[in-house]
C-alpha cells in the first residue's frame, strides 16, 4: 500500500516536471520575449539590452529553465512583469478567492447532487425523478455564460436583490466576499450539480438492479436499511473520481463564470496574464493548476482504494 502511494506520488511529480517543461518550451518558442512585450514600442537599442540583462535573458535557455525550476521547487515563482511584484504576492489573494468560491460551491453542490441523484434513482420514472431530471438536464445544457448572464439580468437587474458583479479588491476578507459570491456560486453549482446528480443517479440505478440488492430484499431487509447499507456504499464509490475532477475544475478557476461576474480568482488571472503577455505568471499558473489536478486525483484514487475492500485486498495480496 505504502509502495503504491509512493509510486503514485512519483508519477505525479514526473507529470509536473513534464508540464513545466512544456510551458517553458512553449513560452520560449513564442515570437518575442518578455522584454519586447514589456517595452513594446521602445524595444530597441540600449533599453532592450538593459532589460535583457536585467531579466537575465542573455543566458542560454536550459540554464534559465534550471534556474527557474529550482526556484519554483523552493516555492519562489519570480517576478511578474506587469506589476513588477513577486508572483507569490500576485497569486496569494487569487488562490484564496478561488478557494472560497470553490469550497462554498462544493459544500452546497456535492451534497445536493448526491441527494438529488439518490432521489431520482429511487423514484425512477416517477414524478420526483421526472421533475428533477428535467431541471438537471436543462441546467446541464445551458452554457454557463448564458445562465450566468440570465442570473445577473433577473436577480441583480430586475429584482435588484444582489450585486450583479463583484466589485471588491482582490484582497478582500472572507466575509466581504461571502455576500458577493452568491450568484457565482449558484451559476457554478447549477452545472456541477446537474452533472454529478446524473452520474449518481445512473450509478444507484445500476446497483439497485444488482443481484445483491435483490438478495437483500429477499432476505427481508427493510427498504431504507437496504438503501443505506447495501446500495449507497457501492453506488457512491465510482462517484469519488467524478467529485475529484469537479473539485480540480473548480479550483483551477472557472474562467467563464469569473469573467462574467468580474470575480478576482485564478481563472480571471489566467485570462489577464495571457492578454498582458505576463509570461512568468502564465508559467506559474500552469504549474499550480497542474499540481492541483495531480494532487486531487491522487487523493481520490487513494480514497477509492481505501473504501473499496475489493481493491484493498488485491493490493495486499500482491
Amino acid at each position: 500500500m505504502l509502495l503504491l502511494i509512493l509510486k503514485r506520488i512519483g508519477l505525479g511529480l514526473i507529470t509536473l516536471f513534464i508540464v513545466s517543461l512544456i510551458t517553458f518550451v512553449g513560452v520560449e518558442v513564442l515570437p518575442g520575449d518578455a522584454c519586447t512585450t514589456y517595452l513594446e514600442r521602445e524595444a530597441y537599442g540600449a533599453a532592450l539590452d538593459a532589460c535583457i540583462k536585467r531579466l537575465g535573458l542573455d543566458v542560454p535557455a536550459y540554464e534559465r529553465y534550471l534556474d527557474w525550476a529550482s526556484n519554483v521547487a523552493r516555492g519562489d515563482f519570480g517576478y511578474s512583469l506587469s506589476g513588477e511584484m513577486p508572483i507569490n504576492e500576485v497569486l496569494g489573494p487569487r488562490v484564496k478567492n478561488s478557494l472560497v468560491l470553490a469550497s462554498v460551491s462544493i459544500l452546497i453542490g456535492i451534497p445536493l447532487a448526491i441527494v438529488l441523484g439518490i432521489i431520482t434513482a429511487l423514484w425512477r420514472d416517477k414524478l420526483p425523478d421526472i421533475m428533477i431530471s428535467t431541471i438537471t438536464i436543462f441546467s446541464m445544457t445551458i452554457p454557463e455564460f448564458i445562465s450566468a448572464t440570465l442570473l445577473i439580468l433577473i436577480v441583480a437587474i430586475w429584482l435588484g436583490w444582489l450585486p450583479g458583479i463583484v466589485i471588491i479588491p482582490s484582497d478582500a476578507t472572507f466575509y466581504e466576499l461571502l455576500s458577493n459570491i452568491i450568484l457565482p456560486v449558484v451559476a457554478i453549482s447549477m452545472i456541477m450539480t446537474a452533472h454529478m446528480a446524473r452520474m449518481v443517479r445512473s450509478s444507484v440505478i445500476q446497483v439497485m438492479a444488482s443481484d445483491y440488492v435483490q438478495m437483500a430484499i429477499l432476505k427481508g431487509v427493510p427498504y431504507w436499511k437496504m438503501v443505506f447499507r447495501h446500495v449507497l456504499p457501492n453506488a457512491l464509490l465510482p462517484a469519488i473520481n467524478v467529485v475529484a475532477l469537479t473539485i480540480a475544475w473548480l479550483l483551477g478557476g472557472v474562467v467563464v463564470t469569473e469573467v462574467v461576474f468580474n470575480y478576482p480568482g485564478l481563472g480571471r488571472l489566467v485570462i489577464e496574464s495571457i492578454s498582458n503577455r505576463d509570461l512568468p505568471v502564465v508559467q506559474a499558473l500552469a504549474i499550480i493548476l497542474a499540481s492541483i489536478y495531480v494532487g486531487i486525483n491522487l487523493i481520490a484514487d487513494l480514497m477509492t482504494l481505501m473504501l473499496n475492500p475489493r481493491l484493498k485486498s488485491l493490493q495486499i495480496r500482491k
Binding site: 443481484d211 445483491y212 438478495m215 432476505k219 427481508g220 431487509v221 447499507r229 475492500p309
Partner: protein, 675 residues
C-alpha cells in the same frame, strides 16, 4: 408430514408489450409444496421457472406483474401483502439461496455482517449469542475456520465457499421453506457435487421444505422428491422424481432426457428440433406443437389441460402421452458417431509447451523472455491427428483455455513449440504468423452473445472471413454465405438478421459458420455448448460432428463437462493446474484404471438418474497456484502415497488400453484398487 405449506393457485404473471398487449410468461400455474418435501422445478431458459420461484416469495421482478391467481403461504396470499408484511416472511419463513452467490453477496460488507443482519432481523438473539450462532452456521455449511471466515469480504472466498455462505445466510432465520435458484450452476463439478450433498444433508437435518430450480436434470435428480417440468410458462409434467426421470410421459421431458449426454454412453445424444416459443407468440394449441413428434392436428387447435394419471401419480399436459408409456425402454439411445478414419497424419503438435501469466520483470521485457519457475501451464505434449476431436478437460484453473489461446496465437508461450503441418514451428506471436496459418486455425468462443458483433447483420459477420481470406465479393460472396448458412442449417433469410434477433442456439450456429467460413484445418472450441440449453446443446454437438464428418476438420474441444466430452471426442486429455494428468482414447479414459484426478471428476458427475449417486472422494479445495514440485494433484489426491508425490514429478505409464496416466502408483495397482 403431508401438510401443505405453500400453495400456488392458477398463477399467471406477465408484462405489457410495447403495443399495450398483456403478455404472460407464466400461465395458470398451480402446485403445492408439502412440509419437508424437496420439489425440483426444471426447464430451459425462458420457461418461467425463476419467475415462479421468485413469486413464491412474493417477489415479482420489475416490469412484470401478476395477472391472476394467488401464492398462498400458510393460507395467506403473498402477492397481496404490503412490503412491511413481506419483510417479516422473507428470510424468516421463506429464504432464498441465489444462483450466483458471488454476485448476490454485497461486496462492501463482510461475510459475518451479512449473516448477522439476517439474525438481527429474524431472531431475538443478543450480540454474543449471534456471534456464536454465526460460527455455528459457518460450521454447519462446512466452511474452514469459521471464526476468521466471518471477517472476510465476499470476494476473498472461492465460488464454492461463497455459495456455502449464501446457504448459511438462508439458514440463519430458520425458514420453513428454502428456495434455491440454480444454486450450483457455475460451480466446478466437484464443488457442485459437494454443495448438493450439503443441501441434501440440511434438508434431512432440519426438515425444511426446499424448492430447487435448475435447468440441470442431473442436479435435480440428486435432490428432489418431486419434479415439476416447465415449458413456455406452463407446467407440462409434474410427479414423483423417479417416475419423471425413468418414465417421462410428456414428449418434451422425454426429448430433454434424451438430449442430455451421459457418461455411460458413447456417441452423441439425440437433439430436439426447434426452440421454445417466445412469450406471447402462442395463440392457440399446444405450446410444444412445433417441436413435438407426436403432434396431431388436434394438438394444433386445442391446448391440452393437465391430466392426472393415477398409476404414475403424475400430472401431464399432453393428449398423446399414452404413446410414450411404451416407448420408454429406449430412453438410453444415442447416435453413434462415424469413427474417424484418420490417416494418422499429425497436424498439430504441442511440444513441451509452458505458458506463464507472471508479469515480465523489467530486464526480461528487454530480453523478451519470461522467467517464471512455476508457470501456469507446464510440459504439455500433445500430438493432434488430422480429423480427430481431442478434448481438453478440467475444472476452472486447469489451464485448458490457456492452452487453446496459445494455439490460436493469442497468448505467448514461455517454452516449447507449437508445430503445425509437417513440423513447421508456429510463432507464438500472432503478428508473426503468415495469413494462411491464421486462416487454418479458427476459434469458436463460449458465449456467442459476446463473440458476435451486435451491430453487424449475419451477412456482415460471415462476409468478413470470406473477404479477408479469399477476397470474395459480389455474387460469389453472397453465394458462399448462403452455402455456409445451409451448412449450419439456417435459412437464407437469416442473412439480414442481427444477433439479438436470434436465439442462443442460432447465434452459436452463426459462430460455427463464421469459423468454417475460413475453411480451417483446425477449429478450437472453447466451451462452445456451456452457455446453451440442453436441447440446443445436443443440436450444436450434432452439427459439429456432422460438419467434421463432411469436411474432415480437426477439433480441439475444451470443456468442463465430462459427459459432453464423452459424447463428442475421440481422445481426451485431462488437465489439473496446467499439467497433464491423463491422455488417451475417450472410451478408455472413461474406464478404469484412471488417474486419481480423473477418478474424482468422474465420481462427481451428476447423472439424471436418481439411482446413480455421485461419489465424493476428494475435498473441493481451491488451489491458487500449481505446486512447485512433485505431482500437480498432490494437494487433493485421495490416493496420495507419500513424500514422493510432493517431491517428484510422476512418470507417464501406459495402460493396456492405450491411455497414458501420470501417477506414482503402479498402473496395475491403480486398476485393482479402482475396480
Amino acid at each position: 408430514m403431508n401438510k401443505i405449506i405453500e400453495s400456488i393457485k392458477n398463477l399467471s404473471i406477465g408484462f405489457n408489450s410495447q403495443k399495450g398487449k398483456k403478455i404472460s410468461i407464466l400461465r395458470n400455474v398451480s402446485t403445492n409444496i408439502k412440509k419437508g418435501e424437496t420439489v425440483g422445478i426444471v426447464g430451459e431458459s425462458g420457461s418461467g421457472k425463476s419467475t415462479l420461484a421468485l413469486a413464491m416469495m412474493g417477489y415479482i421482478k420489475q416490469g412484470l406483474f401478476p395477472l391472476k391467481g394467488e401464492c398462498l403461504f400458510k393460507s395467506e396470499d403473498l402477492l397481496k401483502m404490503s412490503s412491511r408484511q413481506l419483510e417479516k416472511i422473507r428470510g424468516r419463513k421463506i429464504a432464498m439461496i441465489p444462483q450466483n452467490a458471488g454476485q448476490a453477496l454485497t461486496p462492501n460488507l463482510k461475510i459475518g455482517y451479512q449473516i448477522d443482519e439476517a439474525l438481527r432481523l429474524h431472531t431475538d438473539l443478543n450480540k454474543t449469542e449471534r456471534d456464536k450462532k454465526i460460527s455455528e452456521l459457518l460450521n454447519k455449511v462446512r466452511l474452514p475456520s469459521p471464526e476468521t471466515m466471518a471477517f472476510r469480504y465476499p470476494h476473498e472466498l472461492s465460488g464454492g465457499q461463497q455459495q456455502r455462505v449464501a446457504v448459511a445466510m438462508a439458514l440463519a432465520g430458520k425458514p420453513d421453506l428454502l428456495l434455491l435458484d440454480e444454486p450450483t450452476t457455475g460451480l466446478d463439478v466437484t464443488t457442485q457435487a459437494h454443495v448438493l450433498e450439503l443441501l441434501r444433508f440440511i434438508a434431512k437435518d432440519t426438515g425444511t421444505s426446499m424448492i430447487y430450480v435448475s435447468h440441470d436434470l442431473g442436479a435435480i435428480a440428486q435432490v428432489s422428491d418431486r419434479i415439476v417440468v416447465m415449458y413456455a410458462g406452463e407446467i407440462v409434467l409434474e410427479g414423483p422424481a423417479r417416475k419423471i426421470l425413468k418414465e417421462p410421459i410428456h414428449p418434451y421431458t422425454y426429448g430433454l432426457l434424451k438430449s442430455i449426454p451421459k457418461l455411460s454412453l458413447a456417441g452423441l445424444p439425440a437433439s430436439m428440433p426447434g426452440s421454445q416459443p417466445q412469450p406471447g407468440s402462442i395463440s392457440e394449441g399446444c405450446s410444444f406443437y412445433d417441436r413435438c413428434n407426436l403432434a396431431t392436428d388436434h394438438c394444433k387447435k386445442n391446448s391440452p389441460d393437465l391430466e392426472y394419471i393415477k398409476e404414475l401419480d403424475t400430472n401431464v399436459r399432453c393428449f398423446n402421452h399414452k404413446e410414450l408409456i411404451n416407448q420408454n425402454n429406449n430412453l438410453q439411445t444415442s447416435i453413434t458417431k462415424k469413427s474417424n478414419n484418420s490417416e494418422a497424419i499429425e497436424v498439430l503438435k504441442l511440444k513441451d509447451v509452458s505458458i506463464s501469466y507472471a508479469k515480465q520483470k523489467f530486464f526480461d521485457q528487454l530480453l523478451n523472455k519470461i522467467s517464471d519457475q512455476n508457470p501456469t501451464v507446464k510440459d504439455i505434449n500433445i500430438d493432434i491427428k488430422k480429423g480427430e476431436t481431442i478434448a481438453l478437460v478440467g475444472e476452472s484453473g486447469s489451464g485448458k483455455s490457456t492452452i487453446l489461446k496459445s494455439i490460436a496465437g493469442l497468448l505467448k508461450t514461455k517454452d516449447g513449440q507449437i508445430k503445425f503441418e509437417n513440423d513447421r514451428i508456429l510463432s507464438s506471436d500472432l503478428k508473426m504468423r503468415n495469413p494462411n496459418d491464421l486462416r487454418a486455425i479458427q476459434l469458436i468462443f463460449q458465449n456467442p452473445d459476446e463473440s458476435l458483433n451486435p451491430n453487424h447483420t449475419v451477412e456482415q459477420i460471415l462476409s468478413q472471413p470470406l473477404k479477408l481470406y479469399f477476397n470474395l465479393s459480389g455474387e460469389e460472396l453472397k453465394k458462399n454465405i448462403i452455402d455456409l448458412l445451409k451448412k449450419v442449417r439456417l435459412g437464407e433469410f437469416y442473412m439480414s438478421r442481427y444477433p439479438r434477433q436470434l436465439s442462443g442456439g442460432e447465434k452459436q450456429r452463426v459462430a460455427v459458420a463464421r469459423a468454417f467460413a475460413a475453411k480451417p484445418d483446425i477449429i478450437l472450441c472453447d466451451e462452445v455448448t456451456s452457455a446453451l440449453d440442453v436441447s440446443v446443446q445436443a443440436a450444436v454437438l450434432n452439427l459439429l460432428q456432422q460438419l467434421k464428418e463432411d469436411l474432415g476438420t480437426t477439433y480441439v474441444f475444451v470443456s468442463h463437462d465430462l459427459a459432453v466430452v464423452r459424447a463428442i471426442s475421440d481422445r481426451v486429455a485431462v488437465l489439473y493446474q496446467g499439467r497433464l494428468c491423463e491422455i488417451g482414447p475417450s472410451q478408455n479414459v472413461y474406464k478404469f484404471p484412471s488417474h486419481p484426478y480423473t477418478e474424482v471428476l468422474l465420481g462427481a458427475v451428476l447423472e439424471p438418474d436418481p439411482d446413480i449417486k455421485p461419489k465424493l472422494v476428494a475435498e473441493d479445495i481451491v488451489e491458487e497456484k500449481p505446486p512447485e514440485k512433485g505431482c500437480s494433484f498432490q494437494g487433493r489426491c485421495p490416493r496420495k502415497i507419500g513424500d514422493i508425490c510432493n517431491t517428484e514429478v510422476p512418470p507417464w505409464q501406459i495402460g493396456e488400453n492405450g491411455n497414458a496416466i501420470r501417477c506414482h502408483i503402479n498402473i496395475d495397482e491403480l486398476a485393482n484398487s479402482q475396480q
